[in-house]
Amino acid sequence: MQADEMIPRSHVSAMSSSSAMPSSSAVPMADSAPATRKVTGRLALWKVMPLACAIALLTCLASLLWGAGQVGPMQALKALMGQGSEEARFVVYELRAPRTLIGIVVGMMLACGGALMQVVARNPLAEPGLLGVSAGASFAVAVALLLGIEAAGMHVIVAQSGALLGCLFVMSTVRVRGARQDPVRLVLAGAALSSLLVALTSLVLLIDQRAADEIRFWVVGSLAGRSLSALYHCLPSLLLAVVLTLWLARPLAALVLGEQVASGLGHRPERVRQITILVVALLVGAATALAGPVAFVGLAVPYVARALCGADIRRTLWLCLPLGVTMLLTADVISRLVVPPSELPLGVLTTLLGAPVLIAVVRARRLPTL
């Protein structure tokens, strides 16, 4: 409401006094979407962030306390305090803690990867899992296993290159068709690409029984049975991605205002876009190597983050960190509790949580373009 009153007033002042240079230059700023959004009562980051972090911490605690096995929450709590039985302490420290840690990292990576991809594609539906980026990563890993690449560290690099190829392909479809005006077409192209890659992956698994046994559980997306060493293999690329993201935040925020504004501000839009795609591939590839293809986290989390405190990528990314952890760990905890002795694939639960968000975005009367 405030913005609606402010814009006409500045118009009036610009028209009434010819000497009002600053206010006349402020008019186009007030008209552009991010500036008005900032005024229209979105919450400030410092108000939301502590709450989001608290919720994320609570889900971490829940992930330590509840499990599919015999050790109940009370025993686990005792074990956390340093008491309790030997078994409970083993389960909590050796099984649940690494799993929670991996879940935290994967959730952050997927959420940030989604947020970055959405800015580059200027499309709120651009989600790495939906667009075939994770499918590219898992196909690359399946092929690598078929060719006999064993080293665990290689998987990360292979998955990242697969993710990069999938990313480049899907983004080139945006370029070819100029589909910016039609955000939904990109999703269709992504769905086609990802169904192709999933079919090829299952073909590879069919051909190579050994590879199939090795990655059968990985290919549906799960945090179960991942060791911390897999996490260490991801660390170098993760560090690189963090550095690049910190460097990218300002140019990306400028890019949202439009290509010409960005280059006017001294950024190089093409270069920024290429590096962002690289970062997305690094993040999503590493996350896929850790947990398998997990869809819809990169869609739902940035969507909620934008709804909470506006479309500025710098704030979205910060908020994506705790929210991504919350969503992934919530899905993981539920996946342990639904079928007690065994577990559900994580991807199933993130889909159940995230697909309604996709429908909600599409249902919105005016599709927001980022």
Binding site: A192, F296, R363, L367
Partner: protein, 367 residues
């Protein structure tokens, strides 16, 4: 929002009954065949007719190939004799018990998928709007799997598949607020619904023992391996009713391609027509899914081939059904023979062939 147009030419009329005007056409227009029997006349475009004949011939050839090729090699002559129960016992067994039912199931499912796809595409005015993409396949699969793993206890898979398909359709259409009104949005809402049902299927498979899950597995990828005889019979019934009904609706479908106002002005009950087409498409899809699982790509590729061969004259329903059957039989044959000791499920073959095609449709330059 730009929408892909289904057809290049807005030419209309494939069958004209009783020329009412006294100035009846003296000779058939170019590219058509025209018959008159007293007061009744029939005008048929030549291209769709030729396409249908060609597709039928190709279907027969590929059926023969499907009967002869396989792990147990047969002569063409042996195979033909074995159909009628003549020849060695082993040959007769292989053909009559194994290959012929599979072939028939493949033809039936392919035709049903493609016909449903063609109907849905025409209805939505969008060549990408196939039942598979808008999630109807996945809905039917989820419910059919539910009946197999024992959640829906003792309800036959075809009935469960039908209810699943109806629920998915209602969700996809309800959530996107009508058919074709919002272009691609409706498709993405369908993708969301499909993802939900896919996750539901996984959820149910994870809850049951590994044996039951293995039983239901072929359904989740789409395969002709785990056909249930009952479901095949239901598919046959659905096709026997559905194909003539679709052909009868075909003339109205041509009119439906105009705007609603024009179609109403030409005397078409648009709303009722839409509803009938929608139901027909859903029932056919459900019956096919109950037999073969979600092989939705056939519904995209079949009508596309038919449309190309018929030179985009009218809505090629018959040619679509034939092309779908042909594609399905060929895909199953390829899946059985190419990686020989292994059998690749037909759903995977179709996804590998069909997805690049879908991408190509999306990416090629607009006309």
């Amino acid at each position: 929002m730009p929408e892909t147009k289904l057809y290049r030419s807005p030419t209309f009329c494939s069958a004209v009954s009783t020329p009412t005007s006294p100035l009846s056409i003296a000779s058939a227009p170019a590219g058509t065949l025209w018959w008159r029997w007293g007061a009744v006349s029939l005008l048929v475009y030549r291209a769709p007719l030729l396409a249908a004949c060609g597709l039928l011939a190709a279907l027969l050839m590929s059926s023969l190939a499907s009967l002869t090729l396989g792990s147990a090699g047969l002569d063409l002559l042996d195979a033909l004799k074995a159909i009628f129960g003549i020849g060695e016992f082993m040959h007769v067994f292989v053909v009559q018990e194994l290959r012929l039912p599979r072939l028939l199931a493949g033809m039936g499912t392919g035709a049903a998928f493609a016909l449903a796809g063609c109907l849905m595409q025409t209805l939505a005015g969008n060549r990408l709007a196939t039942p598979g993409i808008i999630g109807i396949d996945n809905g039917a699969t989820a419910f059919a799997v539910a009946s197999v793993v024992g959640l829906g206890a003792s309800i036959a898979p075809p009935a469960m598949a039908l209810s699943g398909a109806v629920v998915a359709m209602a969700l996809a259409f309800g959530l996107s607020g009508g058919i074709g009104t919002r272009g691609y949005r409706f498709l993405v809402a369908g993708i969301g619904v499909g993802a939900l049902f896919g996750a539901g299927t996984q959820l149910m498979l994870a809850r049951v023992s590994i044996d039951v899950a293995n039983n239901a597995y072929p359904w989740t990828v789409g395969s002709l391996n785990a056909r249930d005889a009952n479901s095949v019979i239901w598919l046959g019934i659905a096709m026997l009713i559905g194909l003539p009904l679709a052909l009868w609706l075909g003339r109205g479908l041509n009119t439906l391609r105009f705007t609603d106002r024009v179609a109403t002005g030409l005397g078409l009950p648009v709303a009722r027509m839409r509803l009938m087409i929608l139901w027909l498409s859903v029932v056919l899809t459900a019956a096919a899914v109950a037999v073969a699982g979600p092989v939705g790509m056939v519904a995209l590729v079949g009508p596309e081939i038919a449309r190309y061969l018929s030179r985009h004259k009218g809505v090629p329903l018959l040619a679509s059904a034939l092309a779908g059957a042909l594609v399905m039989v060929l895909a199953d044959l390829a899946g059985r023979t190419l990686l020989s000791p292994l059998e690749v499920p037909v759903g995977i073959v179709m996804a590998v062939v069909g997805s690049p095609y879908l991408l190509w449709i999306l990416l090629r330059s607009p006309r």
